[in-house]
């Protein structure tokens, strides 16, 4: 994040997302008729360090500022009361057609959209050529998320309001990636360098980027020409940069801050019991746990199994995170193919007795000593490590905990310099798991090299039938849980959005979904 605070790129990521995304609780309830006007003050948990260029940035905080708010996308994930999971709905594209072979996607664009009235784009109409320019630039940039459209070989505009994507092979996640927060549609002027995309944002979204005072705040104002009639309600959104939990707590209590976010269940509980705030719990980042098979004795699959089944993951989630999901590789909030809690309990039972016999079988009846490298973003990360340490001590494994900051943690995982490692995994869509297991990927921290798993994942990526695709993902998860056991996402933590009573209709989203802010309104004194 640019500036990122690195503190967390992960933290920030997680928190921002929750921040920008999470609500849907009681404040979403009947608060009367929406009233236009007013200002929403929404915490920004870290400053943006590397600029806001959507073609180059992978900073979740940056996405949280501009994606869906300033920039629209072709398609969008639905948000609103009662919406769960990911449903792709129109944004700039009114409708789309996919040929049966899965190789051609044709999008019909809205014809009533104008760019923000900011130089040098000056409110000109939005056309198909802008979409072509955006994705061609993305394909050419050495950029960070070009891989999301890797199978797309050609993007063309047969007329002003039609865009055609041609693919080299069937690629089922394409629509989800087009709805993902990275893939904002830019004006051709920006792509061609007529203004600096890193510091300026001119989009078609509900809000116009008004000002940025470095390390202090970002301000968005209402786009009067937004293509959805009557939206947005808010005149202004202010995003003060606040990283400290105590400062956020104080600002929420004093009413200077409308919406704050945290991963700390105790802080959320404190506001809940106090009253006057609505608390929304949103599924957040999965906790990741890696075992390095190149470090003895983890080369023996029985030892890996003993460790994984010697830890009471559900107990850990319950006691340390408060709310959590017991999970396998996929996030249950974004994929129907995720193993259910019962299935996970079955394939990954908590069985210390079994673990002890597995260790004995592996020739380690007295256990062994090892280290757990823990990436610390918040206190919970450390308490989880202590929980693991205690559970493993019970089966005779003596664990030394090594706490590192995010920068060190990433570096150590990339260089496979750990025996066991624990961190948070900042991904959302089912398809993104391939990067964790592909032998050539730099995010394959645990050196997973399993041809069968890779075939399953490659098959799922190509499969256009959702049911068949889900089945492949299920098999991939089972294979990881029962055969490989090197990279696990044992639980998914929750994030909490705390909103004051004047905030209404702020609905949760698993991604950085700024467009939902167009539906938010505030009670004015």
């Amino acid at each position: 994040m640019k500036r990122r605070a690195l503190f967390a790129a992960l933290t920030a990521a997680v928190v921002t997302m929750a921040g920008c995304s999470g609500e849907g609780g009681s404040s979403a309830g009947p608060g009367g008729e929406p009233v236009p006007g007013g200002t929403l003050v929404l915490q920004l948990p870290a400053e943006i360090k590397s600029g806001i260029n959507p073609l180059e940035s992978s900073d979740p905080t940056a996405m949280g500022i501009v994606s869906g708010t300033v920039y629209s996308k072709l398609v969008e994930f639905k948000t609103g009361p009662g919406v769960e999971g990911l449903e792709v709905v129109p944004d700039l594209a009114e409708s789309w057609e996919i040929t049966p072979d899965g190789l051609t996607y044709t999008f019909q664009l809205r014809d009533d959209v104008r760019w923000h009235d900011v130089a040098p784009v000056n409110g000109r109409p939005f056309v198909a050529d802008d979409v072509v320019a955006t994705f061609q630039a993305l394909k050419q940039s050495t950029g960070v998320h070009g891989w999301m459209i890797e199978p797309v070989t050609d993007i063309s505009a047969p007329d002003e309001h039609t865009v055609v994507f041609t693919l080299s092979r069937p690629y089922s996640p394409l629509l989800e990636y087009l709805a993902y927060h990275f893939n904002m549609i830019l004006p051709r002027e920006g792509v061609e360098g007529e203004f600096d995309l890193a510091t300026k944002a001119i989009g078609t979204g509900p809000f116009i980027l008004d000002s940025h005072k470095p390390d202090v705040e970002w301000v968005l104002r209402r786009n009067p020409d937004y293509f959805v009639p009557g939206r947005p309600y808010l005149d202004e959104i202010r995003r003060p940069i606040m990283t400290d939990a105590a400062a956020v707590t104080a600002a929420l209590r004093s009413g200077r801050l409308d919406v704050g976010t945290t991963s700390d269940a105790n802080m959320a509980e404190e506001f809940r019991s106090r009253g006057g705030f609505s608390i929304t719990e949103t599924p957040g980042a999965p906790v990741s746990f890696y075992i390095n098979p190149e470090r003895e004795p983890f080369d023996d699959p029985r030892v890996r199994q003993a460790v994984v089944e010697g830890i009471d993951w559900a107990g850990m989630g319950e006691n340390i995170r408060g709310r959590f999901n017991l999970t396998s590789m996929l996030r249950p909030d974004t994929s129907d193919a995720a193993l259910t809690e019962e299935e996970v309990r079955e394939v990954r039972p908590f069985d210390p007795e079994g673990s002890r016999s597995l260790l004995a079988e592996a020739g380690l009846p007295n256990g062994f000593s090892t280290t757990l490298t823990v990436q610390r973003v918040d206190d919970e990360d450390v308490r989880e490590a202590q929980w693991i340490q205690a559970d493993l001590a019970d089966i005779g494994v003596k664990v030394e905990i090594e706490i590192v900051d995010p920068a060190t943690g990433i570096d150590r995982r990339r260089s496979h310099d750990f025996a066991m490692a624990k961190a948070l995994r900042g991904v959302h869509l089912a398809d993104q798991v391939w990067r964790d297991f592909e032998p050539d990927s730099i995010e394959n921290y645990a050196l997973v090299d399993d041809p069968e798993l890779n075939d399953l994942i490659a098959g799922a990526r190509a499969e256009t039938d959702p049911a068949a695709r889900g089945e492949l993902y299920r098999q991939a998860q089972l294979r990881m849980e029962t055969e490989i056991r090197q990279a696990l996402y044992p639980i998914q933590k929750f994030d909490y959005t705390i909103a004051g009573e004047r905030v209404h209709d702020l609905y949760a989203s698993p991604i950085y979904q700024g467009r939902r802010l167009a539906d938010v309104w505030v009670t004015q004194e």
Binding site: R3, A8, K49, S58, A247, R253, I410
Partner: protein, 319 residues
Amino acid sequence: MIFYTLRRLAYGAVVMALVTVLVFVIMRMVPGDAVSLQLQETGVSAEEAAAMRAQFGLDDPVWVQLWTWLAGAFQGDFGTSYYGGEPVLSLFLDRVPVTVQLGLLAMVIGSLLGIGLGIVAAVTRGSATDGAVRAFAVAFLSVPNFVVALLLLTMFSLWFAWSPPLVYAGPGEDFGSWLQQIAIPVFALGTGGMAAMARMTRSSMLESLGSDYIRAVRAKGAGNRTVIAKHALRNSTISVLTLLGLELATVLGGTVIIEQMFSIPGTGQLIYQAVLDRDYPVVVACTIFYAALFVVIIIIIDLLYALVDPRIRTGRALS
């Protein structure tokens, strides 16, 4: 006096050279770098990451990096941030006024109150006032300044539903808002210094007040006020000055956490973020600026000693 000054300056130069090399080498020994952080979760390939490292010069040996940096620094180029690409010097200088205002206010308020309390305690030695000042001083000396800030923040928000403004505005932009924003930070940063100052002033005043020359002054018939202000206090100044120099280090160090807590865009916040981001040019430059500031202040204080105490000036040190 000239020789004394030159010697102080030479010491300062040696300290600066050591600080530069140490900071430079240590920062690079810490695992993790700006490239991994910027590219995490992006799916970028190892080759692309290597190209980015080469662009920042991160793949050169540390000594080569140090040499390149020094060569630039002597020409006034302290490098650019790995993130925004902004020159480090302007990044830092933009924030200096914010931290200087905060630090200076904390030091001035802390010192004035501390010296005042110390004098009162010394003069009323053994009384309830003296006891209260001492208890107060021990309490604030033992509590870190960020804890004081945290307590105040929590108390004000719970009891009065008040919190500082969220958005920093300089005193020139919006004086009222600025005052509200820095009130807690200034108090929190100042308390440690105030406590230390009160204790030091009290003990040196007591020493002076009990000495023969004070008895001589009193014997001349001087009033209480003259005795305290003109004679005892002046002779207690040396130790108080020393403490003032050390206090500067505490306050500057304190701003790193306090500015982060209160979202104050000063140099402390810049350093804090830069360390987490492994933004080496910013960390190195900021640390060196801080060290330089500290060295300069120490030299000024050394020179002030000489002004206050003629024995130092003439080379006959205090025994």
